[in-house]
Point group: C2
Chain length 393, copies 2
Amino acid sequence: MNLIDAEELARTLDAQDVLAPMRAKFDLPADVTYFDGNSLGPLTLRSREVLHHTIDVEWRERLIRSWNEDWLAMPMRVGNMIAPLIGATQDSVISCDNTSINLHKALMSAVELRPGRTEIVIDINNFPTDIYIAQSVADQHGMTLVAVPAEEIIGAISERTAVVTATHVDYRTAKILDAPAITATAHQHGALMVWDLAHTAGAVPFDVSTLDIDFAVGCGYKYLNGGPGAPAFIYVAPRLLAESGQPLQGWWAHAAPFDFELSFRPAPGISRFLTGTTTVLSMKSLEAALEIFSGVSMADIRAKSIGLTGLFIDLFDAHLAPRGFMLASPRESESRGSHVALGFVGGKALVDKMSAQGVIADFRPPDLMRFGFAPLYNSFGNVVSLVHHLLRP
Amino acid sequence: MNLIDAEELARTLDAQDVLAPMRAKFDLPADVTYFDGNSLGPLTLRSREVLHHTIDVEWRERLIRSWNEDWLAMPMRVGNMIAPLIGATQDSVISCDNTSINLHKALMSAVELRPGRTEIVIDINNFPTDIYIAQSVADQHGMTLVAVPAEEIIGAISERTAVVTATHVDYRTAKILDAPAITATAHQHGALMVWDLAHTAGAVPFDVSTLDIDFAVGCGYKYLNGGPGAPAFIYVAPRLLAESGQPLQGWWAHAAPFDFELSFRPAPGISRFLTGTTTVLSMKSLEAALEIFSGVSMADIRAKSIGLTGLFIDLFDAHLAPRGFMLASPRESESRGSHVALGFVGGKALVDKMSAQGVIADFRPPDLMRFGFAPLYNSFGNVVSLVHHLLRP
């Protein structure tokens, strides 16, 4: 397909796109084409509006009174907005802290629930913070961290395994791991399963309930568009809640935080996974951005995501492969998340050059360019434009 | 002193107040008199300005590029703004997470540095989150949490003690603990010392260097005015840094986070106490608010704080004690932080009634009213006004 035909096709697809109206909810600069929503989602109009209200009314005018009037309930409220995006029931997800901290809680909790077991199994290509956190949990318990490639995870699970953890969509290649098979194998061996949904939530459908996941964590600032460093989230299966604890049991995890009891009594529900005071401004921005998802279906998001990444791979075959670019993401759409990675010697310089022109992607060493295609604001026209820039930066 | 004379005195003191110009940096509503800066500092003009820039320029326009352009350096930058307020050297304080999480890191680190010791000593009147977090650390290590009243801490320290922790200014009574004596006793027995400076930083001078403190943690949203849920901070003595670790070793604690190494290598400096991605919006607000402190001395802040709380106690003696109020804070100014607590049966209803009139204080069960006097924005006139409201709510 030549690029003239591709532009024609993109116009047709954009005209048919049921998600096209969502673009107007984002405040992307006119001189920017953005392919890095997998790292930092852009500003929504609603986030700006809510932040101004939080600053000028809730903080400035209501001051301390806003805690009772609004803020105390926010981690639960935001968790309940995220819940339907990952197939969770209400009151089983809560927003707090960052993904690293939430993974620590999930793994510590899981290990406590499986005393006597000696191994934690992890995807060796997991995002490094997951590996560092898992290593720390293993070290604290004198356990072994078994780090293997994704395709060897199932074979590495045994009766020694306390918990298995992996990221559902690989942060480099966007490869989707086989969550049903890995989870089922973990459970067959009596192990617990912790999924990191950082590159899943808001981009790829997931169903913690159907898959009977034990714990999940994820990120608020990628496809959920919560803003830089937006709070993360944690899911705990309701069947595990009553027996689950976590070591960062600050006052927000207490059954009655404002009774100031001297002994820790965990909250009966998911709020036992909170720690201390939540970051209000950052969480307000996330809450506002999440409103967009109430108007769309994850099925539509997934269909458009496959359309965008599929078009890019078609154009890669015709135009980029001959120029030395290499596809690092899966060809099969069912195995591919919402970004596409290309290996390219000199990729860093190319990403930097495009960025100076307002075409923003990202780069992961040693030579991987990543292009995030976010169905809520990227168009098919953006895809063709990107290929133009990669050919003539 | 009758209240007419008190008003006259307040006018004189306010006219002489070197900190009076600082009031104009805050955006307090005209119909509010605020005595709860010990719970949530008010909005500064600079925080609003910086937040708007962060939203509209750094996030909206620069998008992911802002991480390299500004945000990555922020936790260290903000830490270095807090450092002089607590007597810390540059690069020994970092801003991150919340106080509960930072206390967990400090205690876990301290316990690892004192293997074989079996006790953690804590002030039983510490803020409950500190007790819950310390209990969790003790439980994880099979240690005993020795919780005693502040005046018994020194006697409870022994060769069994790994670490002692207390809050420098009691959250209820504002009583200042004897940091030099407690720290010295801990060190004499080979134990480490962790101070919680939540009600100290920005209100009461403290010197971690002179006192040779091992770890300190503190809060960004009280006297530092960082905004609701602003990130907290942690100090680690430079002499301990190289050998100190902490269990929440996410990628931000790594020596080279963007090299995505598979093994954790702690950063050489204080950033090894970071976890994962920082909350940018909340930290930007804190950074902006901290600018105020570059123009004032902690000695001036302390002098005015003593003046404000002293005037309030004088008026308490004359007008409130006869009406059934009871002083719960120290009379001796050198033992008193920047708030005053009064016991009063029916205190909750009184605080609520005053709040509805824009006179904002807070209440801690069972019957304690707390009045925070923040030298940067409270005036001596405010003190007299408060007494009027307490007498005729």
